[in-house]
Subunit: 172 residues, 6 copies
């Protein structure tokens, strides 16, 4: 009998883009199940974190629809208490035996608790970057080719580009 391999990956997914998609596609070939943590889940409506956890969850679910992977999406809010953060994640998720992250703090926290932590293989980091995509939205540049088709739909439905532009207006 085979033991289930269940991995955790946490990101902010602001928004979920093609680089994220490729990472998850790659991991899906290595594990049985994937827990996708939606980090800073309480944040939204800022230039750095424009989308709510619910909106990001929808982007992810629709993008992964045709991927053959069993996954869970879980909102993970910031807690400003690093030493208990891993325990908070554990309480909200099914048990996992691997963690994928490129973030130094997350890697350290999980490593200290005894987890195997791997770096995800990034895809075309120069283009596929949340920061750059949000900048393109602000500057009326094309961004749609950098995210899955269904993410374009979600962002259009909620007028996400308009939201970012309005948030960028000067206070009065």
């Amino acid at each position: 009998m085979k033991h289930t391999t269940r991995a955790l990956i946490i990101g902010r997914w602001q928004p979920f883009h093609n680089g994220h998609y490729e990472i998850i596609k790659k991991i899906s070939q290595e594990v049985d199940e994937l827990i996708i943590g939606i980090g800073s889940s309480q944040r939204s409506h800022s230039l750095k974190d424009p989308f709510t956890a619910g909106e990001r969850m929808m982007m992810i679910s629709k993008s992964l629809e045709n991927l053959n992977i069993r996954y869970y999406t879980i909102p993970i809010s910031d807690i400003d208490f690093n030493a208990i953060w891993v325990s908070c994640v554990e309480a909200l998720t099914p048990p996992f035996n691997q963690v994928y992250t490129g973030n130094s703090l997350v890697r350290e926290l999980f490593t200290e608790k005894g987890y195997v932590v791997k770096k995800p293989e990034l895809y075309n980091r120069a283009e596929y970057s949340g920061t750059k995509i949000r900048e393109k939205m602000l500057n009326n540049e094309n961004w749609e080719h950098l995210v899955p088709k269904s993410v374009v739909d979600v962002i259009n439905e909620i007028d996400g580009v308009g939201r970012i532009k309005r948030l960028n207006e000067k206070d009065y």
Copy 2:
């Protein structure tokens, strides 16, 4: 073009049982997508709420595996601030247009915010009841036939019955 019907159902799922399964199976025939809120997500390790949010999420996911329904599971913690609770749920979930609940408070809160709230059709409430199942666990009675097979597996894996019995021991 058809508009997506997305419904929300919130329960404590302590544990997820056959009655829950039947309700969700029925709803899955009426809507396109279902958001399954895991209520009192912060609670666990008590006689009334023995299982963690992560454990309950696993019970649900494994039980619904063969059901043809697109769903999201979302932990919803208690906040002791009823007037903002609907807004907290909205922030963490994709938008929904229907709510299923048999709880008076939940119904009132969503109704006041303008949602259509329906009562789910209960199945064999006399047998399929979280309270009764937890009692049977405590009293060494058979409970396995009251929950989906995969819930039995999850509970066995985490020694859930042992946990309940140990929590019931008298303080010393």
Copy 3:
């Protein structure tokens, strides 16, 4: 030059009734200004605490309209940390030199911090009681004569009686 006498009175005002009105009318003859704390401000939508802080604030303001008293209404939420509760109140209010309360805990907390605490003179406690008024609402009895006219208006506007009855329905 006369020093300003500013008193604090904290209540739950669920709802604000004629007894409350008489107490405040009496106090208004003794002090220059009155801070009216709306206790358990985060509570609403329960049988014991049906109304939100905003709704209670509206009841109070409209009822005191013709009273010649300068007052502040301030929401005070429960914090489950008695030893810092007085300090939380102080941070949110103008400074005060007297406290009116009939609650033993509130009296003790303010007394230990050196405040002068007085018992407000109750008016017809047999009739003017929040608990009894809420019961009458549930039982279709007359309650309107027990509260100021403007409180009747507020409660009607928000269908407060309907809310209480719906919250009282059995879970399903």
Copy 4:
């Protein structure tokens, strides 16, 4: 029968100055009632936010004494969860149908919830600015002519200028 126009304006009022006064005086001619939210109510004792919510409430109340406007002052604390912030405000205030703000984030949040949001007309922004007034206090320049007379009294009573200067001293 005329419907009540109730507007909401939120500011930090650090301190309440003549520009604020003029804005509120102007709005008071347009609406029946005004809810004055005291934003970042939990903040105090910093160079940017020197005064407590209670102190700011007192500044406002004393300044508006002779203005013919019915208003409510309400402390609104920061919650670092933008998506539920409007709901938190709604829970603590009487219902309102207009919002006045010059802040992009506040405007976006209320607009997304369907509120009519207006920009308040600013008065002599070059002079009437909280930032500049706090700087003048630090630098021993005249600031008293920039705020209502009763705000001078409140700040003197609590030695507000001394507080700002002491907070500005270098750590040791």
Copy 5:
């Protein structure tokens, strides 16, 4: 080289009594260092939890003065999130390898995280009981012989018996 044995014991110590003293004296012969958690540290000023964390810490320190044990006292507040509670304790304390508790929930939580949990040997439970001591205080019975001499001093200094009696007065 000998490894340090460090044990954790958590209690509410309302108040610290002779039974507690005997337990700690016994444990002090078995371990090198003892971490004394002050549970429900945020509670005080109630009939069940009359004393603040600071007051309880003083009772403990003064009582253990002549005991040859190296110990740490640490306030542990309730968090209503059992699944992360052990992690919260770990973050606030030096590492420990044993836990002493007679409480079923605490035992279960630490056991699930892999700790060795022992039951402390109780001394004369019929007499040495926080509940009974608080009752005697309320009923003007002798209680002083049930607690260490220095606990009597602390309670007298803060008028602890008066506090309990005043908290017990009927609301008005």
Copy 6:
């Protein structure tokens, strides 16, 4: 009969170094008892605050072992609500009559509540500085001579230097 002099000193102790030791040694000659608050207790695993409250507590306790002073160590978490912070500290500690701090905010907060606040005499601030010690750790320079011997042991035991270096790695 002599009244007990009990002083409070709050620091972040990241890490506890020789300068801290000298300050406490000096204070220990002036007071009967010392409360050592571990500030920002919830912070850890960052370049500025690498060590948990429990780790810092262990550093302090082991360093003070041979000092003839009765002291309490108490974790104090940040609360982002300056106006109630002193009250939070008071609730968690034995009563104190003096405060030692070199921080302007802490001094102001305690002074406004009526405490006598003194500046601790710093020792060789050029060398004994948490910031500089953490930099040396990052840069493979000698730091061990700047902290008490037992602090070296604690940091080695938890691989504190490795933690800081790993946290400093670039995100990927």
